[in-house]
Amino acid sequence: MRSGRRRRGASPVRPDDTIVVTCVRRGWALRDCTAFEWLMAVNSDPERLSRIFPGMIRPKDVEAMVAAMEAFDDMDRRWLNVARKALQYASGRDWWRAYNLMRTCLDEWTFINGVLLTKGCDARRMPLSSWLDAAYVTKAKTFDENGFKAFEMRLNQVPAGAQGGGTAQRQALMAFAAD
């Protein structure tokens, strides 16, 4: 086989972008997924993020996960926590900011994807972090100053029932109040 040629069906995301998360005291390497796959994973189960974890584990780890399901009673809770961590690692930002930005992009998919495609940013060929950077700038350019602050506040909003956004939310509120 010639070197440098991509396997048919292989992800265009580089191997060194592989994400490893810890669950039930062992590491799980996730499949190399494009931004589009991450977006679809969030879209298909926004509540539990199950298409991220365990949905993105590698086929060779499936049996190990089944064994873990039999050994632990609280797998659903563990899966959700790990899925959020995985989203954080993949996006390179707080998971709730990535989650909110992805939900916004999914709501306005035709517009945002269209603008990004005309600029050469294809979600099917890019890693999540880079695509979200491009989406963030595209979206931010559509706002005036007040609109941008409201957008930032929405991004910093932690989904109900989750933890982790206290500091960010306070900072956003203080910035908004100080203005």
């Binding site: 199950s50 365990p54 086929p59």
Partner: protein, 119 residues
């Protein structure tokens, strides 16, 4: 058997009960079936993969099938009456159409001739 099945499906004349699945469990069941299919393709022959299918079915069973139904589903698979695509279809159906408490409430009204008494 552990608890009441969340929904039942008729497979070869027998009602098979399925547990209530969380989204994560449905995802896992789908991953198991995908892996089984991939492994079966690698093996090449259908009959040569019977052991593999059995072991995969054991994993699927551990998640989705009530204990008392295992033998029936395994027999159906090994005799060729049912394969992994059936389980996959059942999973999808279970996910998409949860059992209705009141079937009449969601049944669309039939068009055509009215019953004799109503005429």
């Amino acid at each position: 058997m552990t608890g009441t099945p969340a929904f039942t499906v008729e497979i070869n004349g027998v009602e098979v009960g399925f547990r209530d699945l969380s989204p994560g469990q449905v995802t896992m069941a789908n991953l198991i079936i995908q892996k089984a299919r991939r492994d079966a393709r690698k093996v090449g022959e259908v009959r040569a993969s019977v052991d593999l299918l059995s072991s995969m079915l054991n994993m699927v069973e551990s998640i989705i099938i009530e204990d008392e139904d295992r033998e029936h589903v395994l027999d159906s698979m090994l005799t060729g009456q049912m394969d992994l695509s059936d389980i996959y279809r059942i999973l999808r159906r279970g996910q998409a159409d949860p059992p209705q408490d009141d079937e009449d409430a969601v049944r669309p009204e039939k068009k055509g001739r009215k019953p004799r008494a109503a005429r």
